[in-house]
Symmetry: C2
Subunit: 286 residues, 2 copies
């Protein structure tokens, strides 16, 4: 059976899931998105994703077409309809479709667009969870408001395509000699002194939901965390490196630009944090 | 009668002009656009727009789904079907719709999306052509590849919305104390010595088609042109300021952030360049 998507109030097969060519998401990247993981048919850390959604739309003065509670209901309904046990729910809100194309916000009677779809994906037992991933580095070309989770993702597309072309699954973006974040993940290293280092939130990076949860879980376990920028050289001489995101949870980085990190294997701290996060995800999924 | 749009090979009424929610234009702003003016039912400076389209798609390795010659045929067909005498033709090419959402480029069998639509607009006798326009200044938040005419336009949306909220029709974007360009236009000043100044092309700005034509036409008339960055202070103490774009041609800027430029009226050089451009546009439209 064809999977079902949600488009502005209707549940429709993927092949019929369409938006107007006048949709401001299509014309202007005037929209916000979120991706939440699904485990055991339940939404992982979804309150955090919805809180970030609310913040992002607020930053660009975009009105949600539904309440957060209703959005979560639709997410759940879609997961159920598509029978997703392990996977992702994508949601996008845009400033709607006016009758023409004009940069400033449309009149208040143009309703925001809400689109959602799901995909099945093995997250817990993904092969890359055990083997780790290789990453490349690329210059960070993005705009200055990376804290807003907008669909203006062309720089990330180019970064992740460069990674794919090099046989890697992620690109670490570099600005002023420091790592900002991955194309679709937050970056961490574990120093020789077992300090977990990740960049501080600000306009320079997206405040990762999984990043936030991992930092909190680590702190609760009295692990040492430092929020600061780091260089690629520092990452290469670190004990471990890893990335976090809603779709990979915690994933070891075993090489950067073809150079081994640590012993070139997923390290014990990364493995432990992954385990802790999976436990949290399962225990709190809704 | 409802206007007609072009979507991937079909001419359809605007209300039926739709793309998949999996279209990479909608999900990732992974697309390029162009806007050409129409005068007397003909395309203005279209070869220049198509050349820029070809360059932009090349920069992001996006394959055009049709030849430039065929694209121009479709533009003309659409202008005819919608009976546009004076107005605009918008065209957007995206990296197509895959079956799911994944950052790297899809497989080669995913065909690029091509969408076009038109709008009627008085360009020659627009009231703002005589009266000039007021602009505000905003920080330039954009990414570092502004020479690519991508649909990742959220920063421009926010800039032009700020302008609209202030009762202005354009926002000049400022970086490192200098004007880069307008939200959807190129910026010029005319100094006390009658030198026409506009920023040099580079990654910092879009190479404007109308900008290019105006510079060439001015040079042919032995007017003095200097391509360099300028500050807002310089613009405020200049004789004249103006903007150029496919949709406004040449338009006087009479105030910046509420402060008068020159005597607060459209200046003689601006009026002359507008006249020269209109003459060129009419003479060369196809």
């Amino acid at each position: 059976m064809e999977p079902i998507a949600y488009v502005n109030g209707s549940f429709v097969p993927h092949s019929e899931a369409k938006v107007s060519v006048f949709d401001r998401g299509f014309l202007f990247a005037d929209g916000i998105y979120e991706v939440a993981a699904v485990l055991d048919g339940k939404l992982v850390d979804n309150a955090s994703h919805l809180a970030r959604l609310e913040r992002s739309v607020g930053e660009i003065q975009l009105k949600l077409p539904e309440t957060l509670a209703r959005i979560e209901e639709i997410q759940k309904e879609l997961v159920k309809r598509n029978n997703i046990e392990s996977g992702l729910v994508y949601l996008e809100v845009t400033r709607g479709a006016d009758t023409g194309r004009d940069f400033p916000f449309p009149k208040a009677d143009v309703k925001s667009t809400l689109v959602m779809f799901t995909s099945s994906k093995e997250i817990i037992d993904a092969p890359s969870a055990k083997a780790g991933v290789n990453v490349i580095t690329v210059p960070d070309l993005r705009w200055t408001r990376r804290d807003i989770k907008s669909v203006a993702l062309l720089a990330q597309v180019l970064a992740k395509q460069a990674a794919a072309a090099a046989g890697c699954s992620e690109a670490w973006m570099i600005e002023d000699g420091k790592v900002t974040e991955g194309g679709s993940s937050s970056c961490f290293i574990v120093t020789r002194d077992d300090v977990i280092v990740t960049r501080k939130n600000g306009n320079e990076i997206l405040p990762g939901c999984t990043r936030k949860a991992v930092v909190k879980l680590a702190e609760e376990r009295q692990l040492r965390i430092e929020e600061r920028a780091f260089t690629v050289e520092e990452a290469l001489s670190a004990k471990e490196a890893f990335i976090t995101s809603a779709s990979v949870f915690v994933q070891g980085v075993v090489a950067i630009d073809g150079k081994k990190v640590g012993d070139g294997k997923v390290g014990p701290m990364t493995a432990r944090l992954r385990e802790i996060y999976v436990e949290f995800a399962k225990a709190t999924a809704v």
